[in-house]
């Protein structure tokens, strides 16, 4: 079922291209942080799915909460002239790499497990 999220990604890109939507330059900063939060959520979801602990409600609420908090943090940072968005960037960045590492390990384990099964047959 890995093709379904990829298909979703492709459909999202297509909608973005067709809609010709452009945001003001002052808002692109917030969208960047929101994209980072989305990436973190997606990889978190893939990891949970592979670990068989996925919960759709937690996933969806986690996505919106992460995006909103990250954008809010950035906005407050702009108002206070403090780079608070860095907190979100570091937190999401670290978690993103952790999730990717865990997904990679799980995939390797599965592949090696499958290979050892085939060789025993």
């Amino acid at each position: 079922m890995i093709w379904l999220p990829i298909l979703g990604l492709v459909v999202g890109v297509a909608i973005g291209l067709v809609s010709h939507l452009a945001i003001p330059i002052s808002f692109s900063y917030y969208l960047s942080i929101a994209i980072l939060a989305s990436l973190d959520t997606v990889f978190g979801g893939i990891r949970a799915s592979l670990e068989k602990t996925f919960d759709g409600f937690i996933f969806v609420t986690g996505f919106f909460t992460n995006v909103l908090v990250a954008v809010l943090l950035t906005y407050i940072g702009n108002q206070l002239n403090v780079d608070l968005y860095l907190a979100a960037v570091v937190a999401f960045g670290v978690r993103l790499f952790q999730n990717i590492a865990i997904i990679r390990r799980i995939m390797f384990n599965r592949v090696s497990h499958r290979n050892s099964k085939e060789s025993s047959i």
């Binding site: 990604l9 909608i15 973005g16 452009a22 692109s28 989305s38 979801g45 799915s49």
Partner: protein, 253 residues
Amino acid sequence: MEPRHRAAIPITVIAMLLGFMLTVQISSLTGKSSGSSTQDYLTTLTQANEQQQENDLLNTQIAQTKAQLATYQSSGDTVKERREALLKDQANAEAAAGIAPMSGAGLVITLSADQSLPGYSQNIKFFDPQIVLAYLVNLLYSQGAAGISIQGAAGEQQRLVTTSYIRDITQTTIGGESYFSSVEVDQLTIPAPFTIRAVGNASNMQAILTAEDFTQEMQNFGMDCIVTPSNSIKLAGYDGVMPGTYAKEVNTQ
């Protein structure tokens, strides 16, 4: 439903949102960072700077005009008094600019080639009236000359204004020696011998000529220089087209 399959739909939806946001972000940034937007920014910045400069200039002009108005208002209590003060200012400005006639005490300086002078045969070819007259005029102005005119052999006379120029134009050969004998002062040809009249403090102007040893220097060139103080020098006003060509902003539309 298996957990993996249950996860597929929310992840797909979020991935779709992610794809959409990524596309919007990239297309927005690509559009904004194109050359035209940079050009727009620079154009706007230049326009803002120009407007700022214009604003500063206008503020300066307003301040000057206010000061002028204050001077005018303080020049008299009645309109008649103020008008008289303005007319007096106008006369002073015209005299300073060289366009009004002027009379008063000052110096009369004549410069004429004299073959009997010892320096004539060797140095007359080095005499350059353009340089000498400009030098002389600057010396006289430095000592407060209020008005100066240069007169030629046939009585041609040109009053100097602030943008006047003096140029060599004609060479004369006497006894095998060529030297510049005519100058052009503001489009008027003035042939030697030259008579320079200067209205101002005669003693100060004479003192600078003595200090610079001007008469002796001229004699070394073979030019006789006679400096005569006078109490009644009359200078005509400059009546030609104001000399001076300068760059002007043109409207190309």
